[in-house]
Amino acid sequence: MKRLSLLKQPLLNTVNEHLIDYPTPSNLSYWWGFGSTAGICLVLQILTGIFLAMHYTPHIDLAFLSVEHIMRDVEGGWFLRYMHANGASMFFIVVYLHLFRNLYYGSYASPREAVWILGVVILLLMILTAFIGYVLPWGQMSFWGATVITSLASAIPVVGVDVTHWLWGGFSVDNATLNRFFSLHYLLPFIIAGASILHLAALHQYGSNNPLGCLATVDKVSFYPYFFFKDLVGWVVFALFFSWFIFFAPNTLGHPDNYIPANPMSTPAHIVPEWYFLPVYAILRSIPNKLAGVLAIGLVFVSLLLLPFLNTSPLRSATFRPLYKKLFWLFVADALLLGWIGCQPVEDPYVLIGQLASVYFFFYFLIAIPFLGKFETSLLQGSARA
């Protein structure tokens, strides 16, 4: 009897090879589940966003009111909007955990450079999308956040002011800015989706890294059912965490000033970005010179992109690298500290703490990672000789 297999048909066999029969190292821990959870976040953001766009009006006089219309008059509108607004935060939580897992287990290391670089590109696109998305409700923080961040472009020598006006589509953040931000906010998620498929394709060339960081070909199991059901546990726990915010603390992660309609004549006491930008914002503010601050932000992403090439350790996983493990957890603490500094006023002692934390941030990527690998190798060779 010949068994008809749908999964051997064109296209479906690709699905089968990458999502069903896909060979996965059997020792992946729950930390490996954040990739698929991030994918779910992206799909949820796109879906809620499409439905929100059916009721939203990108005009400076109507944007704020149309958001309130969604909250009050659209059936289930508050659910869609709280899911979308908190969904952005959830997406960043998941992606940051995904990134820290990567740093801990050295998943960025050769031969997975392409996976890592595509991941950093996705992060950059996410930051851009989240930033322009936060502008759309046209509250006070939307307006002033947009003004502060787009003005960073004016730090570029010679053409800075022209570039800023080109970004705004006028001589201030105004209706043209809001319109183009809405258009781009609808476009970018689909580019992120495309980049995510490339990210997955690049990953599947060599397969996942694993908690031991060594070659895992000796013991791989099919993705379905093993990792489907393992990831499912992560998804439902994530759903519980996410729903807690939607239903019981929908405005905790937002800023109250964004419930005040944008007013170009009145500057808020403190202009604070969304929490997921705070570490980078702290680095920007710890440098008194505007251009240097912008360059420092650039350096954050350049260091991330260069990471696989800066790394000199033949061992991937921190499990076998006690010194690296300490530096890693210090880096996690440093990132959290920078996040806290980012929402403090620019005054003593926050400025100094922020500067020291920024120094460690770059020390970790640009000095610790390149030299520690060499140092560990020399220690190992030394003990081998002895």
Binding site: S26, E68, M71, R72, W78, F79, V221, P225, Y226, F229, K230, L232, V233, W235, V236, V237, A239, L240, S243, W244, I246, F247, F248, P250, N251, P256, D257, Y259, I260, A269
Partner: protein, 330 residues
């Protein structure tokens, strides 16, 4: 648990002192404690009759007595520790006392009788200067009033509508679909009438301020004489909860300032509590539905989590019970 209760009592004591300072009788400060020490929740009491809310307030007398006793016992401590304002407090406003609102809990809905009373406070006191642009008359139906009550209320105002078939605008009585009327035609008019200050729209006020519900309540009761050394310009009033300490809004709530249709005694703190609850509802009208839906959804997800964990262990049991033999010789 004990320390949390003690903290709450300190805060209640602080509000008692505050209320007493703002020249109200000690009786009025007590009614605030009634509301906050009693956590009875009335869900769906959309058209609550006066009798039910009277009954509930008499039931809570015991709760109040306990609260007041605790409050007075701790008030000395509260005065000595919390009335020292730092430079930061002057800039951002005094740190807000935390009250346990009846709708704080996960399974708590708004106190709808309080929303109804709060609407009466808004209508009779606040609406003279503050708009509530996001609220239509229809929003009040089955929340604080019956449909008939709201229709009658809406018909009391005149709305300019049109144009009609002849191209003329015309006046008509208000309908359920109309928004609550604004006191001023525009921001310029509002500023002109208020010495340059703009009374903000209150639709989102509890969401648009940090810890907004406690902020509005503390602000309404926070008026007192400026301490020595602080100069307040003419036309401004001292209120330590307002960032900067000088607010253009005068103290508006006084005992008996409103006549409640359910017979509740309109003390200053009672009115502050009711109007704050009303504004909390105006900012988050979806609150009750949201928490109910959340409770159902979280329950379902919790069940699904148990199932998913079981399923994962079931599927993985084969792999987890493998015996790996490394046969290096062959």
């Amino acid at each position: 648990m004990l320390s949390r209760a003690a903290k709450r009592a300190v805060l209640a004591a602080r509000s008692c002192v505050l209320a007493a300072e703002s020249s109200t009788s000690s009786l009025s400060s007590s009614s605030a404690s009634i509301s906050f020490f009693n956590r009875t929740i009335k869900t769906g009491a959309s058209s609550t009759s006066s009798s039910s809310s009277q009954a509930s307030s008499s039931n809570t007398n015991r709760g109040y007595a306990a609260g007041a006793a605790l409050g007075s016992a701790l008030s000395v401590a509260a005065v000595s520790t919390t009335f020292v304002a730092s430079a930061d407090e002057a800039e951002h406003g005094l740190h807000l006392p935390q009250y346990s609102w009846p709708h704080d809990g996960l399974f708590d809905a708004y106190d709808h009788a309080s929303i109804r009373r709060g609407h009466q406070v808004y209508q009779q006191v606040c609406a003279a200067c503050h708009s509530l642009n996001q609220i239509c008359y229809r929003n009040l139906v089955d929340v604080a009033y019956t449909e008939q009550e709201v229709k009658t209320m809406a018909e009391e105002i005149e709305i300019t509508d049109g144009p009609d078939d002849t191209g003329e605008m015309f006046e008509r009585p208000g309908k359920l679909s109309d928004r609550l009327p604004s006191p001023y035609a525009n921001e310029e008019g509002a500023r002109y009438a208020n010495n340059g200050a703009y009374p903000p729209d209150l639709s989102l006020i509890t969401k648009a301020r940090h810890d907004g519900i406690n902020y509005v309540f503390a602000l309404l009761l926070g008026y007192r004489d400026a301490p020595a050394g602080i100069e307040i310009r003419d036309g401004l009033y001292y209120n330590p909860y307002f960032p900067g300490g000088a607010i253009a809004m005068p103290k508006m709530l006084v005992d008996g300032g409103v006549e409640y249709d359910d017979g509740t005694i309109a003390t200053e703190t009672q009115m502050a509590k009711d109007v704050t609850t009303f504004l909390a509802w105006a900012a988050e009208p979806e609150h009750d539905d949201r928490k109910l839906m959340g409770a159902k959804w979280m329950f379902a997800m919790a069940l699904l989590t148990v199932t998913a964990v079981y399923q994962k262990r079931y599927i993985w049991s084969q792999l987890k019970s493998r015996r790996v033999i490394v046969d290096a010789v062959r």
